[in-house]
Every structure is written in structure tokens, then in C-alpha cells.
């Protein structure tokens, strides 16, 4: 009991620390720096401590200090309760969804069974969808309560877009659920031992559709019409400043990480290395004794998982800095007329193949 409690707290602290302490601040830097490198620029590199700029790594720090010391402003005529609540509603789902994503397998260490996921729910994927759908309220309420036309338009667009893409996202994932026959993310991850059992090979169409829908759910370019800064200032968070602004900002980046985690778990073999099975690694680490070798295996798996996550973060950043924004009608058309039928066809073909096997 005591060991389990410690294990649970350790896992929560680990995920929370990785997300809030590493990914959330570093992604701001990554976005600026990667876009700079992609566009033959240099990027932010001026903030320094005693002359050390650390290739711009201090910029997230200075940004945070600057934003936190700004005035927290609530516009006149705004609904104060919802205006304050909206950023929290945005941030919470982004933090919570990582609870069901496994970042490693199950290991026996010192006679204690360690399952590297915070909550091993039976309805894992549905849990993610449930909380992803709640993120909509954050942006919709933010837009509505700000008493600003731009915000309001952004909120409306966010509602329409996220509602549409939720449907498509749900359907695009059904294929992979059918193939693995489980909603449990740990089981799905455990099944992708072999390279050719990875979801991306079994469901290539589902992969592309899911990634598209997930980016659309996250409201990032090319699906960023709710916050299109060339059209409606900053969309639903136009009227936000200080801590609340940074919360929207963090929610977006954490969702990038979460999407990468989900995609890794579902389609890219979760914590498994390609071509190298767990047993092989275990025998490779045999020199360290029975318990330590399992710890080493665990660390390898965690590293593998996060390497894949980082790859997907890079991919999403590349997409974000490559593609231009879609128009509103194009987004709706893409969601309802292309992705939805494609997902249905994907389900149909998956079912057919499974039936004929």
C-alpha cells in the first residue's frame, strides 16, 4: 500500500515535472528557434545572464517574468467569473489527459510491480476524448466572456471547429481500436512490440487523419482560425494578460505534448524500440544484476517514449511553420466532407480486412 502510494506520487511528480518544468517552457523556445532555423534566421538569442546567452534558452525565463509582472486586466463589461475561469478550463484538460498515457511498460522491480502510467483506466482513449472535448469550453467561454467582438468571433469559430473535428477525431481512432481490440492505452502500447505491429503500419490512413484532427483540436496553424492574428487580433484570448494569458499559452504547448504522446502510444509503438525487443535489451543489461537491469530497461523505454514524443513535437512545429492558414469554410469542408467520410471508409475497410482474415 505504502509502496503503491509512493509509486503513484512519483509518477505524478515525474509527468507533472516533465510537462510543466520541461516541455511547457522549452516549447516556447523551440517554436521561436526552430522557426528561425527553418526560415534562415537566427532567432531569439539576446537574453543573457553575465553574458551567457545559452542560444536563447533564457528567453522563456525572461518572457515568464515579463508576463507575470504585467497587470492582470479584466475588461469592462466582461463576465468576471467566466473570464477568470476560462484559462483554467483550458489548462486543466491539457494537464489531465497525460494521466492515462503510458510512458513505459510494466516492470517487476524488487518484487514490486511498477506500471508506468498514472491511471490505467479501462476507458483510456475515451477519457482522453472526454477531456479533450472539455478544452472547447475554455476557448468558447474566453471568447464569450471578454465582451470583445474579436474574442467573440474567435470563440464562435473555436466552438464550431472543435466540435466538428471532435467527431472526425473520434472516428479516425476507431480503426486502431478495432485492430488492437482494446481501449486501454497500456494494452495497446504493449501490443506494439514488433515493428510491423505498430499502428502506423496497420492504420496509415487513420494516422494521418488523427494527426490532422488532433492539430485542428489544438487550434494550431494551419487550423488556427479561432486565434487568427491577421483577422481577429488574437481571437478568443485577445483580452487576456498576465497569468491568464500564459495559461492559454501553456495549454497550447502542453496539448502539443499530449498529442505527441497519444500519437506515439497509438501509432508509433509506444515505448518499444524498433527491431530490439525487451528481452534482448534485458540480456544486454544482464551485467547489472537482475533488478538493476530491469531499471535500466525501464529507463531505456522511458527514453524511447520521450524521444518519439520529441520527434512528434518537432513534426508538429514543422507543420506549423510550413503551412498557411485555412479559411473557415475550407476547414469545415475538410472536416465534414473529407476527413469524416475517409474515417468511415477506413473503419469499413478495417472491418472488412479483419472479417476476411
Amino acid at each position: 500500500m505504502f509502496a503503491e502510494l509512493i509509486e503513484a506520487i512519483a509518477k505524478i511528480l515525474f509527468i507533472f515535472g516533465v510537462n510543466m518544468g520541461f516541455f511547457a517552457p522549452i516549447l516556447g523556445w523551440v517554436e521561436r528557434k526552430q522557426s528561425a532555423v527553418m526560415q534562415d534566421r537566427i532567432g531569439a538569442n539576446r537574453a543573457d545572464i553575465l553574458g551567457f546567452t545559452l542560444i536563447g534558452l533564457l528567453h522563456p525565463l525572461t518572457d515568464t517574468i515579463k508576463i507575470l509582472t504585467k497587470e492582470d486586466f479584466i475588461p469592462a463589461g466582461a463576465n468576471k467569473l467566466f473570464h477568470t475561469l476560462a484559462p483554467f478550463i483550458s489548462l486543466t484538460p491539457a494537464l489531465i489527459t497525460f494521466a492515462v498515457i503510458p510512458f513505459g511498460g510494466q516492470y517487476e522491480i524488487f518484487g514490486h510491480r511498477v506500471n508506468l502510467v498514472i491511471a490505467d483506466l479501462d476507458v483510456g482513449i475515451l477519457f482522453i476524448f472526454a477531456f479533450a472535448s472539455l478544452a472547447t469550453y475554455g476557448s468558447v467561454l474566453a471568447g464569450w466572456s471578454s465582451n470583445n467582438n474579436w474574442s467573440f468571433l474567435g470563440g464562435l469559430r473555436a466552438a464550431a471547429q472543435m466540435l466538428s473535428y471532435e467527431v472526425a477525431m473520434g472516428l479516425s481512432i476507431i480503426g486502431i481500436i478495432m485492430v488492437y481490440g482494446s481501449l486501454k492505452l497500456t494494452e495497446i502500447g504493449a501490443m506494439q512490440v514488433d515493428l510491423f505491429k505498430w499502428g502506423i503500419f496497420l492504420q496509415p490512413v487513420g494516422f494521418i487523419l488523427f494527426l490532422t484532427c488532433a492539430i485542428a483540436e489544438n487550434k494550431r496553424v494551419p487550423f488556427d482560425i479561432p486565434e487568427a492574428e491577421t483577422e481577429i487580433v488574437a481571437g478568443y484570448f485577445t483580452e487576456y494578460s498576465s497569468m491568464k494569458f500564459i495559461m492559454f499559452w501553456m495549454a497550447e504547448f502542453l496539448e502539443v505534448v499530449t498529442i505527441s504522446g497519444i500519437v506515439t502510444t497509438l501509432f508509433l509503438g509506444a515505448w518499444h524500440l524498433p527491431f530490439v525487443s525487451g528481452e534482448k535489451l534485458l540480456s544486454l543489461f544482464g551485467f547489472a544484476g537482475p533488478n538493476l537491469s530491469i531499471v535500466l530497461l525501464m529507463l531505456t523505454n522511458i527514453a524511447t517514449f520521450f524521444a518519439k514524443v520529441i520527434f512528434f513535437i518537432w513534426l508538429q512545429m514543422t507543420i506549423r511553420w510550413t503551412l498557411p492558414r485555412f479559411r473557415y469554410d475550407q476547414i469545415m469542408k475538410l472536416g465534414w466532407k473529407i476527413i469524416l467520410p475517409l474515417a468511415l471508409i477506413n473503419i469499413f475497410i478495417t472491418g472488412l480486412v479483419m472479417l476476411l482474415k
Binding site: Q34, A36, V37, M38, Q39, D40, R41, I42, I208, T318, I319, W321, T322, L323
Partner: protein
């Protein structure tokens, strides 16, 4: 006197340039309408830049400068072309007096009402000449349009190439008196010649005729 600008695009002069064929009313091919391959193509381009620059960051090629366009502003500065419209300045004659005759044309033309002149007369040799007793330029209003320069019959006010130190914390500091505006004519020679060319002013520079 006419002046011909010889524009070039790259190394090709303008009149030799052939118009590029522009696709209007694009009908996408099936391959393009699939969209995914085109996205992949675009991403390959950006990824190639990413990788090339990444390698360039880690192992900077010697001798050859990296293909990065960023200018480290305070340390590096771009050379300003003579056509650049910076801070408007009054031309100072060799004898230290201003060239301006306080005709008030610039005050009249200024769209932002930034200029205000009080004129007066003073002795020059045997003649009397008009001069501005005070010439104030409100830099918080100036829009750098260059109309004062265009309208000035005596080439007394020109746009310099200064663009630094124009921001202030106090509006009082942004009202420039005559003393702050005067710049020796030697420094502005290039710009004056350029102004003569583009506005054809050399035809009626009365001062030179006299």
C-alpha cells in the same frame, strides 16, 4: 534634364526581364488535389532548410558565411541607401548659417503639421536676406513623408539617413529646435544630389544661378 533609374532584378536589367508566366484560375491536378503529397513537398523544403541550417549552427562552415539574413543590429548595421528617408534636417551653409529662407512652404505642405517657422531678416554682405528666427520640428508628429524636402525651393531641408536615437521618453525632448536640426552641407551632399535628380530641382536652384 531627365534622369533614368536603372533598375535591375538580380543581375538582369529591367528592360531585358521577361514576364514570368502566372497561373491564373488554377485548376489543380489530381496529384495536387490529394493535398497530402503537396504538404509533404512543402515540409521537405522546410526540413531541408532546417537540417542545412542546423548543421551550419553546429559546424559553421569556415570562410563562407552562413546563408542567414539576420543582421545583429546594434553591432552590425546595414548601409543606408541614399534614397532612405531618415530624420529631416536643415542644411547648414559653409559659413555656419542655415540655408533656409523661411518661405513657409514646408510648414504649409507638412501633412502632420510638424513644422512651425518664425521668419526674420538679417544682413548678408550688402543684401538683406530672410532667415528663420526659429524653426521647430515636432518629431513626435513627423511621418517621414519627405514632402518638405520635395517642396523646398532652396534645398534647405533634406531627409538625412539618421534613424537612431529618435525615440524619447519625454515628448518635450521630441520637439527639435533649429540648433538641433542643423547639419553641415558637406555631410548631406549625396542626398542633395539625389534630390536634384529625382525632383529635377537643379533647373531652378536660384542660389546657384546668382
Amino acid at each position: 534634364m531627365s534622369y533614368e533609374l536603372n533598375y535591375t532584378v538580380g543581375s538582369i536589367p529591367l528592360d531585358k526581364l521577361k514576364p514570368k508566366k502566372v497561373r491564373k484560375n488554377i485548376e489543380l491536378t489530381l496529384w495536387e488535389r490529394l493535398y497530402i503529397p503537396e504538404i509533404a513537398r512543402g515540409m521537405i523544403v522546410t526540413t531541408r532548410h532546417f537540417i542545412v541550417n542546423m548543421v551550419g549552427f553546429i559546424f559553421p562552415p569556415e570562410g563562407k558565411k552562413r546563408k542567414i539574413f539576420t543582421v545583429y543590429y546594434p553591432e552590425e548595421k546595414l548601409t543606408i541607401h541614399v534614397a532612405y528617408r531618415g530624420r529631416p534636417v536643415l542644411v547648414q551653409r559653409e559659413d555656419g548659417k542655415e540655408k533656409c529662407i523661411a518661405c513657409g512652404l514646408c510648414e504649409r505642405i507638412c501633412p502632420a503639421f510638424a513644422i512651425s517657422i518664425i521668419g526674420g531678416e538679417r544682413q548678408r554682405g550688402n543684401d538683406m536676406e530672410r532667415y528663420p528666427v526659429s524653426y521647430t520640428l515636432d518629431m513626435s508628429r513627423c511621418v517621414y513623408c519627405g514632402l518638405c524636402e520635395e517642396v523646398c525651393p532652396y534645398e534647405a531641408i533634406v531627409m538625412s539617413n539618421e534613424y537612431e536615437g529618435l525615440a524619447e521618453y519625454d515628448r518635450e525632448n521630441m520637439i527639435y529646435p533649429k540648433e538641433k536640426l542643423l547639419v553641415p552641407v558637406a555631410k548631406l551632399q549625396k542626398r542633395i544630389e539625389y534630390v536634384r535628380k529625382i525632383y529635377g530641382k537643379s533647373n531652378y536652384d536660384l542660389r546657384n544661378m546668382i
